[in-house]
């Protein structure tokens, strides 16, 4: 194999968002140590400004339809990648804004916090563009390293250290599985690029290889049975990191999962549907049932997140373009609702220094705004119309029923009922129970921005979802040839996966 480094200016353009972010994170880091007296809040706003520039750049890519591949197809820019990059950058902006108050509590390395968040975001942007197995491995590790440090950021806190250690050990284990899986797939096919792998026959090595890769990505998204790191890590990590960890890497990993299942493995759909159906049912049911037993809001959201991932896997199991649309749309609704809920947890945690659900008693008396926002976010997560979560769930169920996945849908619907219970327990505590300390709570402006953004997104995606739907439909256009009910009609037999 010979590599030729022939990059034109047009090729480099594809890398512009990543390069911008790289420069910017160097700037942020330099500002931090070169100007020690600069208030660290400024670094947060500086990071947000840089990310806003990257976001503008990505939006331009999306509108202008700029795309292509680089480095022997390792790196791809298409509308799917751009969608996920916008998703990741948007999440990062909100997470940084939500971190400002929290970072003041750190005793060390306040400035580096923002640098590490940007670094992880950069890694995840590369993940969204990963188009072969090698770049999957590199980008996945790249994005995770930042998180290892971030999870264990509270140096004096045993829980945070424990969380970091557990996350690291299991993360490294997952990386091992990934590397082994990749080597098996490469050994069987001699190919690394997703579209080349599309193999005509399933050899045992290929099956084991893809299973191992799925296990590693399943670890990343926290699907049962690879979820066990989630509760402890979410619980121990600094809350803004938990918020970040619960959303952005999931999106990035779904970018890879979608490419893997819809491109490389399209021809083997009958074989993997059952795998995904199983993972989805287990994740939904397990996450929702165990969430009932939780006393800590971060753990509750951790388990609810596992269940939400189970819901998203329904779309993957559908394996059609509509399934892809539904995944993307669901991720958007999840971004606003979950980040919003975590923003409330961060705000309340900053004010009362507790994440126990008991301490949410009477939140409505102390801050009607926070309580109302939390109510909206939790109801959206539970899928109550007319909030965003409802459309997300509906979309995913419609995609699945077109593929005849009745059992999966029935289980999903039952799970909505179960999830209602623990979401409402929190609501009940906020609204009905008496507060132990009735002093009013007020939140800072950046926090308000995050909560308002969450509310706006949750309401907008619910009441007028059409623009977002058009966007996700455009982002998955490349999968239009996947077998759906329309394509299955005799007049429209299309070659798949070839």
């Amino acid at each position: 194999m010979t590599f030729t480094l022939t990059l034109s200016g047009a090729d480099l353009l594809l890398l512009l968002p990543e390069m911008l972010l790289t420069v910017w994170l160097c700037v942020v880091l330099t500002m931090d140590f070169a100007m020690p007296r600069l208030p660290k809040d400024r670094l947060a706003y500086l990071s947000v400004a840089g990310l806003a520039g990257v976001l503008a750049n990505l939006v331009w890519f999306d509108l202008a339809g700029i795309g292509g591949t680089l480095f022997a197809h390792m790196f791809v820019v298409d509308r799917l990648a751009v969608f996920f990059k916008i998703f990741i950058v948007g999440t990062t902006i909100l997470v940084i804004l939500a971190s400002v108050d929290y970072v003041r509590r750190f005793r060390f390395f306040k400035g580096e916090y923002y640098f590490l968040v940007l670094m992880s975001a950069l890694g995840m942007m590369f993940m969204a563009s990963a188009n072969d197995l090698l770049s999957v491995f590199i980008t996945l590790e790249f994005s995770t390293f930042g998180f290892y440090v971030l999870v264990a950021y509270l140096r004096d806190d045993v829980a945070s250290n424990e969380a970091g250690l557990k996350f690291f050990i299991l993360g490294v284990f997952a990386a091992g599985l990934l590397a082994y899986g990749i080597s098996l797939v490469y050994g069987e096919t001699g190919k690394l690029v997703f579209s080349d792998i599309a193999s005509p026959s399933a050899t045992p090595g290929l099956v084991i290889g893809f299973l191992l890769i799925f296990a590693a990505l399943g670890f990343k998204i926290g699907a049962v049975p690879f979820h066990s790191w989630i509760p402890d890590t979410y619980h121990g990590a600094p809350t803004p990191v938990t918020a970040f960890l619960s959303i952005a890497p999931k999106g990035a990993a779904f970018a890879i999962l979608i490419r893997m299942f819809f491109v490389s493995l399209a021809a083997f759909k009958p074989a993997w549907v059952l795998l995904l159906v199983g993972a989805s049912i287990l994740s939904m049911t397990y996450g929702n049932i165990v969430a009932i037993a939780q006393r800590n809001i971060k753990r509750l959201l951790a388990y609810s997140g596992i269940a939400q991932i189970g819901n998203i896997l329904i779309g993957l199991a559908a394996g059609t373009k509509m399934g892809g649309d539904a995944i993307l749309f669901y991720l958007l609704t999840y971004l606003f609702a979950n980040l919003g809920a975590f923003a409330i947890v961060i705000a309340v945690g900053n004010l009362i220094r507790s994440d126990e659900i008991e301490d949410y008693n009477g939140l409505n008396r102390r801050s009607p705004f926070l309580a109302f926002a939390m109510l909206v976010f939790l109801l959206s997560l539970a899928g109550v119309p007319p909030l965003a979560g409802f459309i997300g769930k509906l979309y995913i169920f419609l995609a699945a029923i077109d593929e005849g996945l009745y059992t999966l849908i029935a289980v999903g619907l039952i799970n909505i009922v179960i999830s209602m219970y623990y979401y409402l327990v929190v609501v009940k505590k906020m609204y009905i129970n008496e507060p132990t300390d009735p002093s009013p709570l007020t939140i800072s402006p950046p926090m308000k921005v995050v909560v308002y953004a969450g509310l706006a997104g949750t309401l907008f995606l619910g009441i007028y979802p059409q623009p977002a739907i058009n966007w996700v439909v455009a982002a998955t256009l490349m999968f239009s040839n996947l077998a759906g009910p329309a394509a299955a009609a005799p007049t429209l037999v299309l070659p798949i996966g070839g």
Partner: protein
């Protein structure tokens, strides 16, 4: 434009109150009341328009499109919509007015009005839906409003879980409903009523194998399945057995909410839905039978429980459960027109009864126990007389609204074959029970000796004008609504399975009328006998029929059964899974890594003799083992 304004005015009221509630505060009614009353006037106009046989569809906006999926928000008006609009706007308007007095000076006054305006909007959108998804969304939205209203203004410290329970139980029903909607999408490729109804007949022969995922065969008619799944939603929303448990608990909310949401409008959505889906249900005899039997069971169960409750609102609540069952039975037997007719009259007299309860409760400073009432008829004359009218209507006393609508159902049921005759017999028994408990309520609360807490007994007085005027208007409606020719008006849009409904010409009509009237009077007389002439009798009866009494008093132990069978096992499972699986796995894994390393260390100490050739030997051996395993497999 006029049509669109009917739902939009309450929505505007909600938005104004929601966003500017801080400034508006106790002037909130100045925003909400005119909005709803204007909606009422427009509804009258619409009623007049569609009475001419005109059906109107007004698209609002395209909610979402993706591929073949296309869902619009539209307003659909026909005669059924028109009568429902009138019911909703009248009761909502009166409840708005009543609330001015009831909630006076309470905290969150503006927010309360915001929520009932939102509820009114959602309920209006529900009845005007022209597709299944819109129906479902507002079906959920009314549930959400009900949740917010119970959850934010509970009146007593006990049973604060009521709101949560109501929402979750409803979600069980909605599970079925949404599954039904998805199945409709799969079968018809559309969610619009007119497409689905037009194609429904083509689907009669189709079946669906329910056991295909596990390789079995269980062919079920698709139409029946759709109807049953949708009905599950109605079971939740209209508090039918076995999902009836939430409605009585929802009485923890403020009384105007009970009147509006839990008596007149939201809970009747299930009955409305079944009637609206008549073209589907008519094609599935099995589903109709299920609806009819469920309704009958609910009717009897609700009535037996209402006999023994002490809480004044709970008696009315159980009566609502029973009456909803009665309506559902009518729909199940194909008497949609009669069912909707009763829904309308019931809306009037049950709202009246609840608001009457509210007056009593306010006068007694939030006392709801009937045993601490009595002798109120002289202190609260307006409340008393309107309450009596409401009770007469509920009991089916001749020439009240309830009499006509009940009779309509009984006649229709009697003419609906063998099943109809059986269920009608149960209905006749229920008529006696209904008359008995409604007059038990009147006699115990308003007659006899005063058992009022002496603290409040001194200054008992009729509530303010804003509260009594709605009572009088509803009392008036509880009588005259029966004389409106609603059955004739509705008959063309709600054909039963045997074609257009033919009611009063039935030979049994006159006889049934007489029997029902007599049975109602028997019930009232029995209540008079038991609670007025011999005051010791109730206790003696309760002791003599202890087992039956306990069963009724404890609501047939359904709550307890659910707690044992569903709630506690789930919570326990959650706890076990968490501690056994997660904690064990994660700690096990991480500690396992440490232990494995320690174990390897121990193993290494055995091997590690400091001689390099031993390491090399170990590595080579490892390689051989792996290679051999790979080659052998």
């Amino acid at each position: 434009m006029l049509y669109t304004l009917i739902p939009l005015l309450p929505l505007a009221a909600f938005l104004i109150l929601g966003l500017f509630g801080h400034w508006i505060k106790d002037r909130a009614h100045l925003v909400a009341v005119p909005a709803v009353l204007t909606s009422f006037l427009f509804s009258l106009f619409v009623f007049d328009e569609v009475a001419g046989g005109k059906n109107v569809t007004i698209p609002l906006y395209t909610w979402l499109t993706s591929g073949d999926l296309r869902i619009e928000l539209s307003l659909y008006f026909d005669r059924l919509t028109a009568v429902m609009l009138l019911l909703v706007t009248i009761v909502s308007g009166l409840v708005h007015v009543y609330t001015i007095g009831y909630m006076h000076g309470e905290r969150g006054y503006a927010r309360f009005f915001a929520y009932i305006a939102l509820f009114t909007f959602s309920m209006l959108m529900l009845v005007m839906a022209d597709n299944f998804l819109q129906l479902f969304v507002f079906w959920e939205a009314v549930g959400l409003c009900s949740y917010l209203l119970i959850g934010h203004w509970y009146e007593r410290q006990t049973a604060r879980d009521a709101a949560t329970k109501a929402f979750i139980v409803n979600r069980v029903g909605d599970f079925g409903f949404l599954l039904g909607v998805l199945l409709i999408w799969l079968s018809f490729g559309s969610l619009e009523y007119r497409h689905v109804f037009a194609q429904a007949a083509d689907l009669t022969g189709e079946t669906l194998n329910l056991l295909s995922p596990i390789g079995g065969t269980w062919e079920v008619s698709t139409l029946t399945l759709i109807c049953l799944l949708l009905f599950l939603g109605a079971v939740g929303k209209s508090a039918q057995v076995p999902l009836h448990v939430w409605l009585p608990d929802a009485m923890e909310g403020p009384t105007p909410i009970s009147a509006l949401i839990h008596a007149a409008t939201m809970v009747t959505a299930g009955v409305f839905m079944v009637a609206r889906m008549a073209p589907l249900y008519n094609l599935s005899a099995a589903a109709m039978d299920v609806v009819a039997v469920t309704g009958t069971v609910t009717m009897v169960l609700g009535a037996t429980i209402a006999l023994t409750q002490h809480d004044i609102k709970r008696v009315v609540a159980w009566s609502t459960v029973s009456q909803l069952g009665f309506m559902m039975m009518a729909c199940g037997l194909g008497a949609y027109v009669a069912g909707i007719f009763h829904l309308l009259t019931h809306g009037a007299f049950k709202a009246l009864l609840f608001l009457g309860c509210g007056s009593v409760i306010i006068a007694l400073h939030h006392e709801q126990d009937m045993r601490k009432m009595g002798g109120l008829k002289d202190k609260l004359p307006v409340t008393y007389w309107t309450f009596v009218i409401g009770s007469l209507a509920l009991a089916g006393f001749p020439f009240t609204a309830g009499f006509f609508s009940k009779d309509e159902i009984l006649v229709e049921a009697w003419s609906a074959g063998a099943l109809g005759k059986t269920l009608a017999t149960f209905a006749l028994v229920t008529v006696v029970l209904t008359a008995f408990y409604s007059f038990r309520l009147v006699f115990v609360t308003f007659w006899g000796e005063s058992r009022v807490d002496p603290q409040h007994a001194g200054h008992l007085h009729e509530p303010s004008r804003t509260m009594t005027v709605p009572l009088v208007i509803l009392a008036f409606l509880s009588i005259v609504a029966g004389y409106a020719a609603i059955p004739d008006f509705l008959a063309p849009v709600l054909p039963g399975p045997r074609g257009l409904a033919i009611h009063h010409e039935h030979p049994a009509a006159g006889g049934m009328m007489a029997i029902a009237a007599v049975l109602g009077l028997v019930g009232i007389a029995a209540a008079y006998l038991v609670y007025v002439t011999s005051p010791g009798l109730p206790d003696r009866l309760a002791r003599q029929w202890q087992r039956a009494y306990r069963l009724s008093f404890n609501k047939w132990y359904v709550d307890e059964a659910y707690d044992r069978a569903v709630v506690r096992p789930t919570v326990r499972l959650a706890d076990r899974l968490w501690t056994w699986v997660d904690v064990a796995v994660i700690d096990g894994a991480v500690n396992g890594v440490a232990r494995t390393i320690a174990w390897w260390g121990w193993l290494m100490r055995l091997v590690q003799s400091g001689q390099t050739q031993h390491y090399a030997l170990g590595m080579t051996l490892g390689a051989v083992v792996i290679l051999t395993v790979y080659l052998l497999l």
